[in-house]
Amino acid sequence: MADYKINADSFKLAHIEKEAQEHISTPSLTFTQDAFRRLKKNKVAMVSLWILCIMIFLSVISIWFSPHNPNTQHLNWNNLPPKLGNLNIPGFNGHGLVRGEYIDAYKASKVPDGTWFALGTDSLGRDLLSRILAGTRVSLFVAFMATLFDLTIGIIYGIVSGWNGGMIDNILQRIIEIISSVPNLVVVILMLLVFKPGLLSIIVAIAFTGWVTMARLIRAQTLQLRDQEFILAAKTLGESPIKIAWKHLIPNLSSTIIIQTMFTIPTAIFFEAFLSYIGIGIPAPKASLGTLLSDGQKNFRFLPYQMVYPAIVISVLMLAFNLLADGLRDAFDPRSAR
């Protein structure tokens, strides 16, 4: 050890290959790919996503393959309990209390052998499952429209306001304050003066007010982004404002957009259900989760299934959207995750 001599020959220059030094070995992931990778790791969000996909699929497919017509009344077959074919599962075997006796309600009402209603019938003899599917479709349609307004009015309004700043921003923000100071319910009731109660007035009301939060968030972010150097660079290159919005702002706003949309949707679904529940939403023969709940509530003590199933569906729907929104937020904005 001690007599080991170090001389110049012991050293030689390390050979650094320029190519190797500059080489990047990790796979190239875009921000979005990275976010979805994180989302996939979030089990709750993925389960929610699947549940939503299934619900959307079922409610759409039921336009053509509904078990029964959701609006056909069978006055003799009213208030039948759930029955799943001839399977004898308790709760789904067609037995129920008829005038104080626990009997096969289907026999008592003389329902032909091959006919059954998976979730029972309501007080007018309409198939509850078909009505729930139709009602879910209404909810999802409202959600879709709310998203559409968020993505059009909300984003454009926010970008215009934040990008221009100054006077324009001032005016646009005052308008938003006025809009958001009027309660939604008042808007709907005013709407009823012009339109008949129904989907149209709900959607017009959402078009009026639903996009306000999105516009605010987008404006705040645009204010931050517009002074970023990459935006200045685009300006010095001569890019037009519209192209800057499309190529630079929107991609950088995408996480906010996705997250906020996912929070708008349950709000809109609940809004429609609530209006229908109190009787100024979807009108009588048509099904909506709100009207189903309010009908079911009348018979809740005797025929609980008429309220329980719609309640489960709307709860699952809202919960799934909210949990997915949470998951998306964590995926797109890793700092917000715990």
């Binding site: 190519e19 500059e22 080489h23 990047i24 990790t26 190239s28 992931l29 875009t30 921000f31 970023q228 150097e229 990459f230 200045l232 660079a233 685009a234 300006k235 010095t236 290159l237 001569g238 890019e239 037009s240 192209k243 190529k247 630079h248 991609p251 950088n252 995408s254």
Partner: protein, 317 residues
């Protein structure tokens, strides 16, 4: 550079840029800015933080609308051009900017090749996609990056590499004039020299004119042919690099120079930073850029010219 007949490329006259004009919080960011930039030279612009260097650069490249004044570029006044007009688009192609923050100056959601080709797309400089890719590859090579990295995203690069991408983006439209706003102050010292040398190299290859903004004199002296010193929104002194460095006249320039550490312990020990008393600017006298000795301008009132002339003569004695 000095031997050739000097052709003025950019001529700024009485440029003023106020923010929030007419409001309570009005900021007079720059005032009375007058200077010329010759074709092919590098003009260094130095001054402390908040002195208005960035504002000057951005006003000249028309990121702001100047409050008043004239900016002649190639003989055309571009101070009043409207954004989007044909002349403006032409100016946008001929003048480019390199930014300070290599992390904020590249859109994180775009591929490197689309970042670099942005100007090519805007000004339709590529015949087809293949031509576009080729131009991008050439630019990457020019700035010393591996062309294979064109499909990657900015976050995969280091600060120095990102700054090179920013330089490539500016060069893509084949500009004549580049404003570099502290292009190296966010970089490691070891990388700074690389980037400065790259800028010099490209300047020679492409016969570019630079306005090089920085806040310390030492790097500016290395890259600049002439140096302009800013203080408090005004230009206080302008001359060749060696004149400003060796024969400073304005007290602010002297103070700035006295703050530079000297890499010689003997001398450094004796260095005394000279404080600058800015109250002399506030005496209400009208000041303009006066040519004290040939090519050496100082922001002076009529009564101060003699004093500066004497000081200049004393240097040469």
């Amino acid at each position: 550079m000095a031997e050739q007949k000097k052709e003025v490329l950019v001529s700024v006259k009485d440029l003023q840029q106020f923010f929030n004009l007419g409001k309570k919080d009005e900021v007079r960011a720059i005032q009375d800015i007058t200077f010329d930039i010759y074709r092919g030279e590098t003009l260094g612009l130095v001054g402390e933080s908040g002195s208005g260097k960035t504002t000057t650069g951005r006003a000249i490249i028309r990121l702001y609308k100047p409050t008043s004044g004239e900016i002649m570029f190639n003989g055309k006044d571009i101070a009043k051009l409207k954004n989007g007009s044909k002349e403006m688009q032409e100016f946008r192609r001929e003048t480019q900017m390199i930014f300070q923050d290599p992390y904020a100056s590249l859109n994180p959601r775009m591929k490197v090749k689309d970042i670099i080709a942005e100007g090519i797309d805007i000004h339709h400089l590529a015949k087809n996609d293949k031509d576009r890719d080729e131009q991008v590859a050439n630019l990457l090579e020019l700035v010393g990056l591996n062309p294979d990295h064109a499909t990657r995203y900015p976050h995969e690069f280091s600060g120095g590499q990102r700054q090179r991408i920013g330089i490539a983006r500016a060069l893509a439209v084949q500009p004549q004039f580049i404003i570099a706003d502290e292009p190296i102050s966010a970089l490691d010292v070891s990388i700074q020299a690389q980037v400065v040398n790259l800028l010099k190299e490209i300047q020679e290859k492409r016969n570019l004119t630079y306005l090089f903004i920085a806040h310390d004199l030492s790097m500016v002296k290395y890259i600049s042919d002439r140096i302009a010193v800013m203080h408090n929104g005004r230009l206080v002194e302008l001359s060749t690099a060696s004149e400003v460095y060796n024969h400073p006249l304005h007290p602010y320039t002297k103070s700035l120079l006295s703050a530079i550490p000297i890499p010689d312990p003997e001398v450094e020990r004796k260095r005394r930073p000279q404080p600058y008393d800015s109250s002399m600017e506030e005496d209400g006298q009208k000041r303009t850029m006066v040519e004290i000795t040939p090519e050496h301008f100082v922001y002076a009132a009529a009564g101060e010219v003699e004093g500066y002339k004497a000081a200049a003569a004393a240097y040469n004695a």
